[in-house]
Amino acid sequence: MKIKSLGELPQDIAPTRDLWPQIAAQIAPSAHPTRLAVTKMTPAAARTARLRWFAAAAALACLAIGMWIDRSLLPLRTTNEGAALSVSTATPSAPASLDVAYVSDPRYQRQRAALLKTLQAQLNTLPPVTRTKVLASLATIGKAKKDLEDALGKDPGNALLQELLVNTYQDEMRVLTDVHSASNAGEGI
């Protein structure tokens, strides 16, 4: 085949053999990228990392407060009083498209969707004070999720942030389940 410009030469050339098996052997768990990144940081990267740790710690602190509020209040439910209260601003968002195994699990997605569907009705069965604080907890969780998603957008490889995000989704699920349990228990009284 003849060509008229060097730019027409092929850029892709297949290796004579599949190199992946040897690469896969070299990138075994001992060579996990995020761990290596910590050990090879430049001073500038170290400063950035410190800021990210600080942001993650702040998000975690917010989450812990939300969880404390939530867990200290839900068991106090005693009556079904209370008028309807919108949860539009506190309803947890749909899971992010980050392919974190826990979040992308179809069972998790189904369970979460079912709990969200009945959340408003169940909140209406809770005492106003409890309901307000549950909503505050969900809002705190939502804020923590957004902060973590933002931080992950800038540093997608940060294992700590990924773990915190998964933990946040788990905590959200725990709150939704608690609300569901409290509501159902009330109906049985």
């Binding site: 060509i3 060097l6 060579a31 998603e149 490889g157």
Partner: protein, 186 residues
């Protein structure tokens, strides 16, 4: 309440693979390898002229990329980033060899489209490129074949832009001598 969904729709599939791979997902990294290995190997082969060394450099490129994934900015091109690592791997392999004679800076290397006066067989022009000295070939491959600018090619090779242009000028002259025809730029 949150813009999470909207934010992530902006991340293309490759960025998603990078996120998964940097989290330790080797299958995601294999997909990156499958997507880019041909282009990386092509560059390594042209820089090293030896299939075995090119394979070693390609392997090294992906192993180093795996280790450095946490530092990759998803907004930049993954292909270019891999090429930078590949160039470093090839240059490191070559480091033990003899140094090239220094070239004067600031010669004009010409534009990116290197046209030939008459059509030439691919194998003939590949052989002519293979016969170029290392420095001239490196600059030619990055600039004329892979389309990097003078500045990008110079950065990848760790050269001053003027030196890179001088290498391209030298490559053009040597190609013209070998092919027996002018090698112009559009």
């Amino acid at each position: 309440m949150t813009q999470v969904q909207a934010q992530h729709t902006q991340i293309d599939w490759e960025a998603g693979l990078v996120v998964r791979a940097s989290g330790g997902d080797a299958r995601a990294f294999e997909r990156i390898y499958r997507e880019h290995s041909g282009r990386v190997y092509g560059l390594c082969l042209r820089m090293t002229r030896d299939p075995q060394i090119a394979e070693d450099c390609t392997q090294e490129t992906f192993i180093n990329a795996w280790k450095a994934l946490a530092r990759f900015e998803t907004r930049s091109s993954l292909g270019t980033w891999l090429h930078r690592i590949a160039v470093n791997a090839c240059l490191a392999k070559r480091r033990k060899g003899a140094r090239e004679e220094p070239l004067p800076d600031d010669e004009d290397g010409g534009g990116a489209d290197w046209t030939l006066e008459t059509p030439v067989e691919v194998r003939e022009i590949e052989a002519a490129i293979d016969a170029l000295p290392d420095g001239a070939r490196d600059a030619l491959v990055l600039h004329a074949l892979y389309g990097y600018s003078h500045d990008e090619a110079a950065q990848m090779l760790g050269l001053a832009e003027g030196t890179c242009k001088a290498q391209l000028h030298r490559a053009r002259r040597l190609l013209r001598d070998r092919l027996g025809m002018g090698v112009g730029t559009a």
